[in-house]
Symmetry: C2
Subunit: 142 residues, 2 copies
């Protein structure tokens, strides 16, 4: 793994850990104050960290005693001096309190990161899943 990629993998690990722990502030801290998020579900755009925090708070609160595991595949990372771009297929798995996988769905994810001094934050996130031409329904498994 190129050394330049290490801080990016660190962000990915922190993203997985924050979701697994339902840690709202740990999650939101991965994002820059002026982040723009194009999310898969229901809303055209979240502009800024406060709007994104509200989404995340509602998501984590909705999970009850379930947890969510995150796995990335087809990962591509491009790192420059001050910015980086990550694209991947992401699988979100709902896991019961007993550790059983109850359901899973896949998304495409694009992350744009910017370096702020010693650390990196996500300045743009775009998640989606493709939509069927004929029925306009989202396709959540590749």
């Amino acid at each position: 793994m190129p050394a330049a990629h290490e801080p990016i993998h660190e962000i990915i690990r922190a993203y997985r850990a924050a979701i697994l722990a339902k840690d709202v502030e740990g999650f939101v801290d991965l994002y820059a104050p002026h982040v723009r998020v194009f999310d898969t579900w229901g809303v055209w755009s979240y502009e800024g960290r406060p709007a994104w925090r509200e989404m995340v708070r509602g998501w984590f609160a909705s999970l009850g005693d379930e947890r969510v595991g995150v796995d990335l595949s087809d990962l591509q990372i491009a790192v420059a001096t001050e910015s980086a771009v990550v694209t991947a297929i992401v699988t979100y798995s709902g896991v019961s309190a007993e550790g059983d996988v109850l359901r899973s769905m896949q998304n495409r994810v694009t992350w744009v990161l910017a370096r702020e001094g010693a650390r990196w934050r996500i300045v743009h996130e775009h998640t989606s899943a493709p939509v069927g031409f004929d029925d306009g329904k989202v396709i959540l498994q590749r």
Copy 2:
């Protein structure tokens, strides 16, 4: 407008012009050979220009004597030395041979561009529209 943004606006103009003219090669020339496209419709990922060319060829061929107009709003551009990121809401309008707007739909678009010597090309495109939580149907108007 910052001078650094001018080559990016040039790409956007060329994107609109190639779609309006249904110019397959002009369109594909805006993309880097190893482009990765996460498109709104039906397919998880197009990997590389040949795969993307086939999609575009089919799209333009399906239009008959209609043409497609492209408008961007909520545009954000970030340019670094060798890369740039564009996010926006894009409206695609189907226009009849007589000039009447027959239909339109909106998408979110993310473009990542890289500089190759004097010119810029799109190395990653992600388009999507949000999906309704309750019915899983794509929402094509903001």
